[in-house]
Point group: C3
Chain length 449, copies 3
């Protein structure tokens, strides 16, 4: 990855289809912020990746929070008086209010109604609802289904358990030449929702596999964690190592048909913000850049004021701005192989800029060096076209005073980052440039995860 942008060589359509297949495999599992759904999901990812699965016991204090009891569910239904399952968890795990407490009781429709959630604006869709931190039970169903419910005595059953157990998350470090880390974080707690966030999970998974095979300056840390409580738990346990995170990306909703969007970190103009904005602008005018806000996914935790990490978020259509968000319509047909491939490729491009975004010193800063004596300049002078690569070399030489990264130079020169990087490599090979290494220790042994 040091000298070339790898994405071009990859068959992104094929990778997109493979990612879509993996989403299909994970889709039926009933996940929540704790429980066997997450465990089963992570175990399947282990077929692809040497992922470490961590378990954190219920009751562990994590900053202002406490790891909650573990929730598992076996079955749930509402039966009418004829014994028919009018709402059936077996048909969709979205039917159950996630984290519902167990219940088995007969009741009238009136008694049942306060526990039913529908979407009148989208009468065919089942909403996704949760009640993690307030004990409650409930069912989600389509408004059409709801309107068919008549006065009756209903048997309501949720065979769930909410007991001391563990919070489960997956982690993998792809070590690089230095211990400086790029964090890639995705949430893995949603049940049958494809874009939010199996898309993020599979893109992270494929990135980890791809990056393992590329030369790299950075170490890449992948987190597959329950949203909010998982990020809080990880940060709490790993606080001493947080300072190694130099850049980070939350992946969420990266499979829909909308254009890519990048949400800036709280700091707003960090190196990953600039690299991501650069890469997205190359992708065309549709790609959007959003300012930070404290509403969203786990960037909320990474960018809380006590951490304030350089972590942005890559998404496609932002959450909450498409009607399928948190409904049964966020299904396998809502995510597209092409989009998955493009999101994957954009991530690699961003990382590739970060990998190559060195700061150099012109070893010959007084006047220009004689490029022609080194075969770096056109032989016959006087013509109009200086040649793009010569111009890139002149820019790199002119701005390599230790105060400009290659991305700074590319932006000021309005020349592609690749051209600027190629010029830097050539100049370095001729001894005209010397990289200013940042104080980041090299990896001495396989870093523990």
């Amino acid at each position: 990855m040091t000298n070339t942008t790898t994405p071009d060589k990859l068959d992104l359509e094929l990778l997109g289809q493979q990612m879509h297949v993996l989403i299909g495999e994970l889709y039926p599992i009933c996940r929540s912020i704790t429980g066997d759904g997450v465990r089963e999901t992570l175990r399947r990812l282990q077929h692809f990746l040497p992922l470490t699965i961590h378990e954190v016991p219920t009751g562990t204090p994590v900053f202002d929070w406490t790891v909650p009891r573990e929730w598992n569910i076996r079955d749930a239904y509402v039966k009418n008086s004829r014994g028919e399952r009018v709402i059936d968890f077996q048909k969709s795990n979205l039917h159950v209010l996630n984290y519902s407490i167990p219940i088995h009781k007969k009741m009238s429709l009136e008694e049942l109604k306060p526990h039913l959630f529908t979407l009148p604006d989208h009468p065919d869709w089942i909403p996704y609802r949760t009640s993690y931190y307030k004990e409650n039970w409930g069912f989600c169903l389509s408004d059409k289904q709801f309107l068919k419910l008549s006065e009756d005595e209903y048997e309501v059953s949720i065979e769930a358990s909410l007991k001391d157990g563990d919070l489960t998350y997956g982690e993998m470090l792809v070590p690089g030449r230095t211990t400086d880390e790029i964090l890639i974080s995705c949430h893995v707690c949603h049940p049958s929702l494809a874009n939010d966030n199996l898309s993020g999970v599979v893109v992270a998974c494929f990135l980890a596999r791809e990056l393992s095979q590329l030369p790299r300056r950075f170490s890449y840390r992948f987190l597959f964690i329950p949203g909010t409580i998982g990020a809080i738990t990880w940060l709490s346990i790993n606080e001493p190592r947080v300072s190694q995170i130099k850049h980070g990306l939350v992946l969420a909703g990266v499979g829909d048909a909308g254009p890519l969007s990048y949400k800036r970190s709280r700091r707003g103009d960090t190196e990953i913000d600039r690299a991501a904005v650069y890469v997205l602008r190359q992708l065309g005018p549709d790609a959007r850049v959003l300012d930070f806000s404290p509403y969203g996914y786990d960037e909320r935790q990474y960018c809380s004021p006590g951490f304030n990490l350089a972590v942005g978020r890559l998404s496609r259509t932002p959450h909450g701005t498409f009607p399928e968000y948190h409904t049964s319509a966020d299904n396998l047909s809502f995510v597209h192989p092409h989009s998955l491939g493009e999101s994957f490729s954009a991530c690699l491009s961003i990382f590739s800029v970060l990998e190559r975004n060195g700061t150099y010193l012109n070893t010959n800063p007084k006047c220009e060096p004689q490029l022609s004596a080194r075969g770096l300049y056109r032989a016959v002078g006087g013509s109009t076209d200086g040649g793009a690569s010569e111009l890139a070399m002149l820019w790199v030489l002119n701005l390599s005073d230790g105060g400009h990264t290659l991305l700074d130079i590319a932006e000021r020169a309005q020349i592609s980052f690749d051209s600027v990087h190629r010029a830097a490599i050539v100049l370095e090979e001729h001894g005209l440039l010397r990289e200013c290494f940042k104080q980041s220790p090299a990896v001495t042994s396989e870093a523990p995860v």
Copy 2:
């Protein structure tokens, strides 16, 4: 004023009418930069306010200036040979060049003419002219009146005195919880001109009365002073206490029908500049924000480089940009109760922002605190609308790192200041926020004025 924006509760129309009545009462008095006109004006304000009246003797050196001799006038006229008063001070005090030296003499029209001032573009209006620092005498009259003057022998009489005496100004401190001051300054030296500046005088008067009844962090210092020489005199005498002035507002021309305008302080982006701009933008697209210039009212002195105070100016139509400026047409019908009420209300709103514009520290800066455990978060998760107040809380928590005021947060979040302030109060009540107090000593006893 700490928790709510008071203006909404007030009957602004009624207050506007009351202010207009007070303008009517003060209008006939012949004021100047010294003399009984100012004294009489301040005495009448004492019916409303516990105003202190200060007298500074003629000859007192005040920076580069000296307090001038006191000017008083009893009568003035120009009589024709038939003994008719063709120009009569008793009809309008604008007829006399303000600060005219005494004269009693007969003369031809030719001899008189260099001492007559008219406005040919507005033939019915009497101009307002002064000659404070160069001994002179003269009359101002409408151009129509002027054109009727025929060759004749005129008796010219100005029964004025220009003698050692005092410069008079009024001052009032409304003490707050701290000795940090907000300065409200208006000029009180113009004769029968309603907008410039009886409007400023009555708005300041009503503000002093209103603020006395509101809880307040700041102490409010009101100055009713002659323009230029008054501000210079006050600053010269009170130089040691100038550092207590944290914010300030000059009020001038706040009664006409034009939209509100705020002129920034010399520093341009101080807290009062930002608060005033915020409040004016809420008032709609007509309100204007003007950059500082060293031409205008007493902000010239407060913003001189040796003081450079955070003092802006609130006006409606800026001086010099309306034809009625400094003419007899700036009369009682040129000022409107509604405008006076709105100007008054805008001042209160600006002060209310300043009063509440705290800087806070998130007591739990690492990751988000668990709002739901404190009943601050919606019970059922997953739906699209996070709720405006939750969003405001998240913003306040995220940016309360000691480096952002609530106004900073409101502007970055594009949420109303009131919402942000409410969120801060709720979070502070739950121990999630702690205000960073600035080093401003509390008032130990009634501050001397």
Copy 3:
């Protein structure tokens, strides 16, 4: 030059014609980066100016470069088998690839062709080509001429010498009251090309003559040097004195009919950048301001990161953006007396701003001083028009806190620099302003060149 902008007084049209005549005199000389052409050119300039001619021996190391061997040429031609000169150096010195090594040989057209350069897009024009640092020989000719060449045996002769000698450049210092320098640099190495750069040479020449007769704070250093290697040589030899250069201007292509353009220094917003932008904006909307790029003329060397001088470039149509660039069409009719006069005048205006752009301290910073007591303010107050000069005085007083130059004040006040400067002079004369002198030593004796 201290109190007035001189350009207005000059007859620019006449000066433009005189400059055009001088270009005509220098035009036929065959210049290169070394050799008798440059020597002869500088000797002719000595008729106008007390120019010092420096010679730097071949082989002298100058930073990353070495002073090359000296090139001189006596004659060159290509003769056909009938003995006719089908390409003839005597007709145009552009016909020879500049720095061609000597050759005398018979050859076929096929053998000759790789050594011929034409411009098929402009079939009547001869291109200008060089080969300074790679030994080569060649001829430049019009494409029409080229197409007429038939199969034949050609006699090729270049009577040139490439031997140890010297690099020649001219220098002149016009000493001012201080040793702070303004550098004016032009390249003098091109053969018969009028705009690039005899225009720069003659404008520099006339500037040196004009500035010698004006009072001046700055010392003005003029360099007439071969492009690139000349600037590198001068910087290498004069490195210790480079810190005296406070501002600088490269003059190149200042005679064509296009509007003036200013290319910013690498630092982008230095005092000369701001002065030049100010002057060009006064000239109207056509004048252009270009950002720095490391491609161009000798600003490349002055703005290399090891020097990073405040040197911009004045041109008209930027090089490389007009078809006549580096062709025989850049001839005497391509440069215009009017353009030369305007370029000359713009330089003087820029220097005039720099000369007068002082930083002052208000000696009376607390409140305004009493201007009327010093006769600096209108006698009768109250009228609308404060007068432009009064406003300029108020601005200068208000911003003269040691942190604003007069140009800063002019830009913030949106008042002309001349008005602001006049106001400062008047205020200084009245003791209300005191100039903050920068630490630049006065000239003790005629500075050595």
